[in-house]
Symmetry: C2
Subunit: 209 residues, 2 copies
């Protein structure tokens, strides 16, 4: 993209219910070299095996996280299963100012907060093919008991009930096909006239080269 420097970076926000395959899909996207950088969240949860600070997350303690909330440093934050997660406003603003396109992998609550601050963001919701497949994927994860599974299904249904306000719906029936659709969305959004209107400047004056 030669034109990246002429425009603001785009925030591509991707949400999905548990069982839609979002994590693998986001990894595919980042690996497919489409000039997209994954946004790194802050979290108070413990680092898991293999995770690296500043790569997977910025791992911080609860006090520091709360100070950042108080200082208005998050574009969005949420508590999930007792841990805090947040996206730095300063990182988003720096990326958009530099013309860097960011991928934000966040839930509907967080996405709605981003939407209220970044109207120009692009909001993509990943859907499983259907309810039966969603159930199959959630059950296929292991030997969780029925109550846990029913709870996850209900959560997924809750998330899907928010999908209507997203800009795009992409069904993940096949990971390559879903990835290609998202890559197409990136390409299309980069051509949108409100982002590329500077291209017209060359033609407004007579023949200067």
């Amino acid at each position: 993209m030669n034109n990246l420097k002429h425009r603001e970076g785009i925030l591509f926000v991707v949400s999905a219910p548990s069982g839609a395959g979002k994590t693998s899909l986001c990894r595919e996207l980042i690996d497919s070299s489409v000039d997209l950088r994954q946004s790194i969240s802050f979290t108070t949860r413990e680092k898991r095996g293999g995770e690296r600070d500043g790569v997977d997350y910025y791992f911080i303690d609860t006090i520091t996280f709360q100070q950042k909330i108080a200082a208005g440093e998050f574009a969005e934050w949420a508590e999930v299963h007792g841990h805090l997660y947040g996206t730095s406003l300063q990182i988003l603003n720096a990326a958009t100012a530099q013309g860097t396109d960011l991928l934000l992998d966040i839930d509907c609550q967080g996405a709605a907060q981003i939407k209220s601050n970044y109207q120009q963001g692009v909001f993509i919701f990943i859907l499983p093919p259907d309810y039966a497949e969603l159930e199959k994927r959630l059950r296929g994860r292991g030997t969780d008991d029925e109550i846990v599974i029913q709870h996850r299904l209900e959560n997924s249904r809750q998330e899907i009930s928010q999908a209507f306000w997203y800009d795009y719906l992409v069904v993940n029936d096949d990971i390559k096909s879903a990835r290609d659709k998202i890559v197409a969305i990136l390409t299309a959004e980069r051509c949108r006239s409100h982002r590329t209107v500077y291209l017209l400047d060359k033609f407004t004056t007579k023949g200067e080269k």
Copy 2:
């Protein structure tokens, strides 16, 4: 596209100034089997060698054309170099109702008329890489005299001055790359939530299959 029957067909309207390479690009698009049908215009001009009625244009006489105007049968029409050209409202409505995506290759005037009737249409403007290249392409066409060339350049600049209201701007610096961008726009627009919201129906009731 298994889902075509669930949604209305999309009107993809493509405009470009003379010298932007629109005709070759539209042919590339139709040939690249992206589930897109070219809309066929009515015209009063003479059939040229190789052109077929009902394939390239519907060739009709001026009286018939004027009757169609009077009967409100055109979604857009215009007089260009003394000939009348028009797009049938009935053909557009039938295609959108059947879920067929149409490619309309029309000038800015016509595109603006379509826009006023079909807000949901997708409007794509093709740009030459820059003014120098535009001039080179227009001069390269043959041995036209300077006045004709200056007239074409002025017309092209006029068309480009309308590009700002289109949804997408695509630079045709390389025909394959420009085609790929338009294909990406088709794919993305087919994923837009206002067209795919029916996908959510499967998840609103509990687990029916």
